[in-house]
């Protein structure tokens, strides 16, 4: 019996350490936003009095409304378009089978393993020839059809009850109406999970925006903060204040959709 108790305690200790290590950097970030750069580098872990100075420095160095608008626009429009295009395809691949489309799907899964680096150079040349470098279109367009999200929706669609579709067909709904009025509401959890995944990927996307967004007024908050971090002596107080702002949207979306997220993940792995 003592062995069982000991093992139990061990599990709690292990999980507590993991939880502490996972959460500590968030705590550090918030505390850091109230401290001076020198205090942060010295490892101060209590709330300081530099919050307003940090905020003032941040807002004078960064054109915040403009930059956050860029980030929000790219993330929101990108997410909506990705969900539409990729869920349509996932639904189509699963509900209408043909041998030819199965082959295409297999090819897509193969393409999933080709890293972005292999297409980045031609992609950049394409967009510069089309004179679209430094536009929102260039950032969003290549991300909209996501093989990973198509695959995710196809997996989730396997759990969608076919009787619902058959009933809707008998009621005379067209295939598009079935998708819109039957499939969409039933798959809410799947869409919620996909929203978290895609929104976070877009908000945090780094390499491609770094390549195509070239003037400061078009950059996203991720790019601007990254540039400020690479300064020879970065002002960590101001930076951590900025990172708190930059992290808020993804954290809020995560906590709002969390329950559905776990449901959605469970649905897809089944």
């Amino acid at each position: 019996m003592t062995w069982a108790v000991f093992r139990r305690a061990l599990v709690y200790v292990l999980l507590s350490i993991a939880a502490f290590v996972s959460v500590f950097p968030f705590f550090w970030m918030i505390i850091g936003a109230t401290n001076t750069s020198a205090d942060i580098i010295r490892g101060k872990t209590s709330i300081g009095g530099a919050l307003l100075t940090n905020a003032a420095t941040f807002f004078t160095q960064v054109d915040a409304p403009r930059i956050f608008f860029n980030s929000a626009f790219i993330a929101i429009v990108g997410t909506v378009l990705t969900l539409i295009i990729s869920s349509l395809a996932g639904y189509g691949f699963e509900m209408f089978r043909s041998r030819f489309r199965e082959r295409i799907f297999a090819l897509l899964l193969l393409l999933l393993s080709i890293p972005f680096a292999a297409m980045m150079v031609p992609l950049f040349v394409m967009f510069s020839q089309a004179k679209l470098v430094n536009t929102y279109v260039a950032v969003i367009a290549p991300t909209v059809a996501s093989i990973f999200i198509i695959f995710y929706f196809r997996q989730a669609t396997k759990a969608f009850p076919r009787e619902l579709r058959d009933a809707a067909r008998i009621d005379g709904l067209s295939e598009w109406q079935i998708f819109l009025y039957v499939y969409l509401p039933v798959m809410r959890s799947t869409y919620a999970a996909a929203t978290i995944i895609v929104f976070m990927a877009n908000w945090n996307n780094y390499l491609w925006p770094l390549i195509v967004l070239q003037t400061a007024d078009n950059k996203t908050i991720t790019l601007i903060l990254s540039a400020l971090t690479s300064a020879y002596t970065p002002d960590y107080g101001m930076l951590l204040f900025g990172t708190v702002l930059a992290t808020l949207p993804t954290l809020v979306i995560f906590f709002v959709l969390q329950r559905r997220f776990v449901e959605g993940m469970l649905g897809a792995v089944k």
């Binding site: 939880a19 349509l88 890293p115 292999a118 297409m119 980045m120 031609p122 390549i211 993804t250 993940m265």
Partner: protein, 297 residues
């Protein structure tokens, strides 16, 4: 006749749903991939390219920075992926116990790192890993080290810091996949094994692992691809240099530098990118082989 018309309607609908995605993938993925394969055999500066045959491949074998990047990428992959997968599995199995208290709290806490923006976590880690910073202070207080480590000034510790950071960010993400899969396993199998007196470690080894194998394979392949493409963290931790003295330069960072920092040589950077494709293909194939062999045994 009616049957044939119905079939044709199904076909038209089937294509209509997938067409927008296929057009976009063709334009922004397949076309660039084919183009870059062609580019990788071309030499020249900027857009003045000409066919160079195997010149780029020969250049690869003599390029010290490329060899360095290849080695570093492998180091990150070999050390980081196993640590992360094992930790994620451990946490998932621990959290799958229905009698455990604060399960939701632990789960959220361990998952939450992957919600942060890349830049937030690289800034936070950079400030924590400062020479007088909190990590060194803690390690010194615990008497694990005698003097401060210069995390980003030392080739070895710079790699360690990057591995710690990536593991911090992605362990919870992988854990969620295992947790989801574990919850689909029929509990009665475990009950039966327990009644038959199978010890806990054996239940883990002979029940949990085999049943999770497809998910483990999936996450391993995805993590392999992710690690071999490593760019964001290295770029941000080292201000784009891959330093100190190229000790953290990765293949993706080298491609970026070749294309956008140095005198642009599109052909050669395309060749380097196909090295990643090749390595990913070989490693994924090996991982599938390992998974299949174990099933036979």
């Amino acid at each position: 006749m009616a049957q044939a018309r119905l079939e044709r309607k199904e076909q038209i609908n089937g294509w209509a749903f997938v067409a927008p995605a296929l057009v976009l993938l063709g334009l922004f993925m397949i076309y660039p991939i084919v183009w870059s394969l062609w580019m990788s055999f071309q030499v020249g500066k900027g857009m003045n390219l000409s066919f160079g045959g195997f010149a780029n491949i020969i250049r690869l074998t003599k390029d010290p920075v490329f060899l360095r990047a290849l080695g570093n990428t492998f180091t990150f992959f070999i050390v980081q992926v196993p640590i992360m997968i094992v930790l994620a599995l451990l946490f998932a199995v621990a959290l799958n116990d229905a009698t455990l208290r604060f399960r939701g709290l632990f789960r959220t806490a361990i998952f939450v790192p992957c919600v942060t923006s890349l830049i937030a976590y690289s800034t936070v880690f950079k400030s924590m890993f400062a020479t007088d910073g909190i990590i060194n202070q803690t390690l010194m207080a615990l008497h694990l080290i005698s003097g401060p480590i210069s995390w980003f000034g030392d080739p070895f510790w710079a790699k360690v810091a990057i591995i710690i950071a990536i593991t911090w960010r992605w362990t919870g993400y992988n854990m969620i996949f295992y947790l989801a899969a574990l919850q689909n396993i029929d509990r009665s199998i475990y009950e039966a094994a327990r009644i038959d007196g199978v010890p806990a470690w054996a239940r883990f080894r002979y029940l949990t692992i085999p049943m999770l194998k497809p998910v483990i394979l999936f996450t391993t392949v995805v993590s392999t691809i992710g690690t071999l493409q490593l760019f964001d963290e290295v770029y941000n931790f080292t201000a784009g240099t891959g330093g100190p003295s190229d000790s953290t330069v990765t293949l993706s960072l080298y491609i970026y530098n070749l294309t956008f920092k140095f005198m642009p040589s599109f052909g050669y950077s395309a060749t380097v990118s196909w090295v990643i494709v090749l390595v990913v293909a070989v490693l994924s194939f090996l991982q599938f082989l390992v998974a299949r062999d174990r099933r036979r045994a």
